[in-house]
């Protein structure tokens, strides 16, 4: 507080100073909002019934109708914290949770992950920083792989994803893999990028930084990077009583099911 006061006085005495340190004031406010969210919503929540979504929309008939439709297709939802990382966190969690029930697929996934650091480094990512995330990512995969009992493994997955340090590293690494996928196939993805940004610029600004929200293009690339498919159920105020489903890539048989409400992703279960 004392610091702020001092800055203000400086500004008054030196007429030329236009601002207090505006960047820091904005950042401080942003941190406050983030703190309120993080105090109230876990990174990845427990299973909850789809019907529990009603509570969030008690006076909103459009949503209530759509939740009814959603409940006819899915029984449970697992909420994630709305911090801009929700897609990556939900996707990563859901895919690992699925793989825990299928040891062979898990081993296959593990082998591809093992080799992924080299792919990133070949693409020009800095070895030193990539290694930090890679090591943690592999440590988590190994820990899960070594647990025989599926129930125990799922519990561990849940704990890891609610430990901010680990959870965020899992998100970062998936962001890096997604960025690598976009850059590897930049000819294809460049058509989806608005303005005159290159794919590499887009990745540095919208994919690699934490807390940046995900779009269609992120999802396509993340699916392609992990060689899997996802079904997204869109629920918004658009016309009709039904939620709209969308498979990515088109025609895939999805391993992961996500609920999308404008600006946010949660995980869905049959």
């Amino acid at each position: 507080m004392g610091d702020e006061g001092e800055t203000m006085t400086n500004n008054v005495s030196e007429n030329s100073e236009p601002t207090a340190n505006q960047d820091e004031l904005i950042l401080a406010q942003q941190r406050q909002i983030e703190k309120e969210i993080s105090d109230n919503i876990p990174l990845v929540g427990e299973l909850d019934s789809v019907i529990s979504l009603n509570k969030e929309y008690s006076t909103d008939d459009i949503y209530l109708e759509k939740i009814k439709d959603l409940a006819s297709k899915y029984s449970y939802v697992r909420r994630t914290r709305p911090d801009g990382n929700c897609f990556f966190r939900a996707f990563s969690y859901a895919i690992l949770e699925k793989l825990l029930c299928d040891k062979d697929s898990f081993i296959k996934f593990y082998k591809i992950a093992e080799n992924s650091k080299n792919v990133l480094v070949e693409l020009g990512f800095q070895q030193f920083t990539v290694e930090d995330f890679y090591d943690t990512y592999m440590e988590v995969l190994k820990r899960l792989k070594d647990i025989e009992n599926i129930g125990e493994a799922k519990k561990e997955l849940h704990n890891v994803f609610n430990d901010q340090g680990y959870s965020d590293y899992m998100v970062v690494y998936l962001r890096l893999l997604t960025s690598a996928q976009l850059q590897k196939e930049h000819d294809f993805y460049s058509c989806f990028i608005e303005g005159d940004r290159t794919v590499a610029d887009f990745c540095h600004q919208e994919v690699e930084p934490m807390y940046k929200e995900s779009d269609h293009i992120h999802i396509m690339a993340a699916c392609s990077a992990l060689n899997t498919g996802v079904r997204v159920l869109y629920m918004d105020r658009g016309t009709g009583n039904n939620v709209t489903k969308h498979d990515l890539p088109e025609g895939c048989s999805p391993t992961v099911h996500l609920l999308y409400r404008p600006g946010h992703y949660d995980i869905l279960y049959p």
């Binding site: 400086n10 601002t19 340190n21 970062v172």
Partner: protein, 151 residues
């Protein structure tokens, strides 16, 4: 206690020692790895040449997912440095990426000294002089350089 942030900062420090970029140095303070002291030497062929500018870098447990707070301790006269030493640099705010490390931060600030961005001023006087009266700008910068020897 080892947390991802602390573990990562140990790695950053190791790399900075093993493979130091020219013209910058940095190290954690004696009893707290979350607070670093750093020095940037004024780049050659700029008015900042020969200056030794001190900075502090404060990390949170969210590093490297969030950028640290970097501040000049030495008095600076630069279009993108606030009166309190705070730095207006995109990679320290909205363009931060977890793939940056301390080395990358310090070299980015070093190149900001060579190439100020007067269109996003934190010090409007410095920005104006930089654009309109380069000689006066350089004079004011030179005064900072000399002061940096004493600080």
């Amino acid at each position: 206690m080892s947390t991802p942030a602390r573990r990562r900062l140990m790695r950053d420090f190791k790399r900075l020692q093993e493979d130091p970029p020219t013209g910058v140095s940095g190290a954690p303070t004696d009893n707290n790895i979350m607070i670093w002291n750093a020095v940037i030497f004024g780049p050659h062929d700029t008015p900042f040449e020969d200056g030794t500018f001190k900075l502090t870098i404060e990390f949170t447990e969210e590093y490297p997912n969030k950028p640290p707070t970097v501040r000049f301790v030495s008095h600076m006269f630069h279009p993108n440095v606030y009166a309190d030493g705070g730095i207006c640099l995109d990679i320290l705010q909205n363009r931060w990426s977890p793939t940056y490390d301390v080395s990358a931060i310090l070299t980015s600030i070093q190149s900001l000294l060579s190439d100020p961005n007067p269109n996003s001023p934190a010090n409007s006087m410095a920005a104006q002089l930089y654009k309109e009266n380069r000689r006066e700008y350089e004079k004011r910068v030179k005064a900072c350089v000399e002061q940096s020897f004493i600080d």
